[in-house]
């Protein structure tokens, strides 16, 4: 059953189309990731789903309700963690949590089991003002406050942006645990590869859903061969490979370069001979499975060339 259903959603700010005929379905108890860079429309979409913005056109249903008409009922079902820290900085950790529980007519005690794994990290600092917490602690408090009324749907807007790689991973693991309570989760991120933990994802770019499905489906739909070239000199090798004929894209991916040809007539030999000719001798070439970021880059290139 669908918990969030969106059809042909449009929203513009002046001449800028923030959402352009967007369609999306999130199943009940789904763990759904929205992946896209800044400006893709992620925040606008979440604000419409949470009834904070009214769409220009299109239809949507969230938890069986219409966010425009039934916003009061809907808000009781939602937990929302906005992208910017939005708790009361001059209330203590515990006061913030108690406030959010109180607003929704519940108590910390009643739903403590839901937040226990997250909240216990910051409980030793429960008398500290929220504004004085470190970034990672603020994030845990915000998540606790969004969960304390046992929402049916949890919506998180870029909870891991600006967070270091290790804390990011821990945060995704926490979300995965929250799922066990039957809560539907919709989460957005600009980090392409981290949302593969979700069971369904959509890639968002310029207000449109570019691709959607399970992470595996998305990467297996990507049919072109991706050559990975490992070398110790990324900048020089990258510059050299850009002059190879027949390439569709060549991009750095950490210590590797990913290269895609525009057609199947080219092969590994073309790359290795070309690199030898230009004195790049340490390259190790292999064919790899595409990742989410490969798919995303491919889409951006296609959409900007047209």
């Amino acid at each position: 059953m669908a918990e969030i259903e969106i059809h042909n959603l449009c929203k513009s700010y002046g001449s800028v189309k923030a959402l352009d005929d967007l369609c999306m379905t999130v199943e009940k108890n789904g763990f759904y990731g929205l992946i896209g860079p800044d400006g893709a429309g992620k925040t606008t979409l979440m604000r419409i789903i949470t009834s904070l913005l009214v769409p220009d056109s299109g239809s949507l249903s969230v938890g069986g309700l219409d966010p425009v008409r039934d916003y009061k009922k809907l808000r009781l079902k939602l937990g929302y963690m906005p992208g910017k820290f939005s708790l009361y900085p001059d209330l203590s950790v515990e006061e913030n949590l108690r406030f959010f529980a109180g607003v929704f007519g519940t108590t910390i005690k009643e739903n403590y089991h839901l937040i226990k794994n997250i909240y216990q990290h910051i409980e030793p600092f429960k008398n500290r003002r929220a504004g004085k917490l470190s970034g990672g602690m603020k994030q845990k408090l915000a998540l606790s406050c969004a969960l304390i009324h046992k929402p049916e749907i949890l919506i998180l807007d870029e909870p891991t942006t600006g967070v270091d790689a290790v804390s990011r991973r821990e945060f995704w693991d926490m979300l995965n645990e929250i799922r066990n309570y039957g809560i539907t989760i919709l989460v957005s991120t600009p980090y392409m590869e981290e949302a593969v933990i979700c069971d369904n994802i959509s890639l968002l770019f310029a207000g449109k859903v570019v691709e959607s499905g399970t992470p595996d489906e998305i990467v297996s739909r990507y049919s072109a061969k991706v050559y990975s070239i490992k070398t110790n000199n990324i900048p020089v090798t990258l510059k050299t490979l850009r002059n190879l004929s027949g390439i569709k894209s060549v991009n750095s991916f950490g210590q590797n370069i990913h290269l895609v040809f525009s057609d199947e007539t080219h092969s590994e030999m073309d790359i290795s001979e070309f690199l030898k000719k230009y004195d790049v001798l340490d390259a190790e070439i292999s064919i790899i499975k595409a990742g989410i970021e490969d798919c995303f880059i491919d889409y951006i290139l296609r959409s900007t060339n047209q």
Partner: protein, 244 residues
């Protein structure tokens, strides 16, 4: 080319806020024309150190020199010789691209003819003929970051500090941004960069990983991968952060 000349020298840098030690006895050097990656978990003390290096905050103790100038005595000279860009602070949204550049270049005391010539070169290089008279607020996001970087190095500083410059940027622009970094380095500028994208750590000549106010590891990406038996910098980072 990286030289042997030290452009940043930090010896036993300590910075305390009350009882809290944000930088606990840091020592490192950065070479001229190097890309130096400054990584670490949130709250590890990166921002504190960068503020000191940029002459915005005094150390509690220790010796720090940037571009040959002492951070205690020569803060104005340091500021003239560095550029700075972050995701949060970059360009004035209600000025055009051209006005932003004229403003920054004016602050750095560039002559009008110099500004004009360099601006024309920049427009050519970035291909922004159509964008140059637009308000920054009307620019696509990817362009804002690329132009902000160009503004930060417009006065040809010796060092540019980049604080999470690619955060949230789309994957193509992120790579174009690195092309600009490589170009800056070729022209002799030293790049001091923080990032949460660990693929970008691989593009640095050397990487320094901070944890709890101290330097936990420093070296080339290859050295660190060998030392921590890791396949990539992501693994190195995880191993260091988890303390093994």
């Amino acid at each position: 080319m990286i030289t042997d000349e030290n452009i940043i020298v930090v010896e036993n840098l300590v910075k305390k806020f009350g009882n809290f030690t944000a930088n606990d006895n840091l020592s490192f050097e950065v070479k001229r024309s190097e890309i130096f990656g400054f990584l670490g978990a949130n709250g590890a003390g990166k921002t504190t150190a960068i503020k000191i290096l940029c002459g915005l905050s005094f150390p509690t103790s220790g010796k720090v020199s940037v571009a040959g100038f002492d951070v205690y005595k020569k803060r104005n000279e340091i500021r003239k010789n560095i550029g700075y860009m972050s995701q949060g602070f970059s360009l004035y949204e209600d000025l055009t691209v051209k006005e932003n550049i004229e403003f920054y270049a004016g602050i750095y005391g560039l002559r009008r003819s110099e500004i004009k010539d360099r601006f024309e070169d920049l427009v050519q290089k970035l291909g922004i003929e159509e964008l140059k008279n637009k308000l920054v607020s009307d620019l696509p996001l990817g362009w804002k970051q690329k132009i902000a970087f160009s503004v930060a190095i417009f006065h040809k500083p010796q060092i540019v500090f980049l604080d999470e410059p690619t955060s949230g940027v789309d994957p193509i622009t992120r790579r174009q941004f690195w092309d600009l970094i490589y170009e800056a380095v070729e022209s002799g500028i030293t790049v001091f960069i923080t990032t949460h994208y660990l693929d970008e750590a691989e593009y640095c000549n050397r990487v320094c990983i901070m944890a709890e106010g101290r330097i936990d590891a420093i070296g080339t990406p290859d050295e660190l991968k060998k030392k921590y038996y890791s396949l990539n910098m992501d693994e190195v980072f995880v191993k260091i952060a988890r303390g093994n």
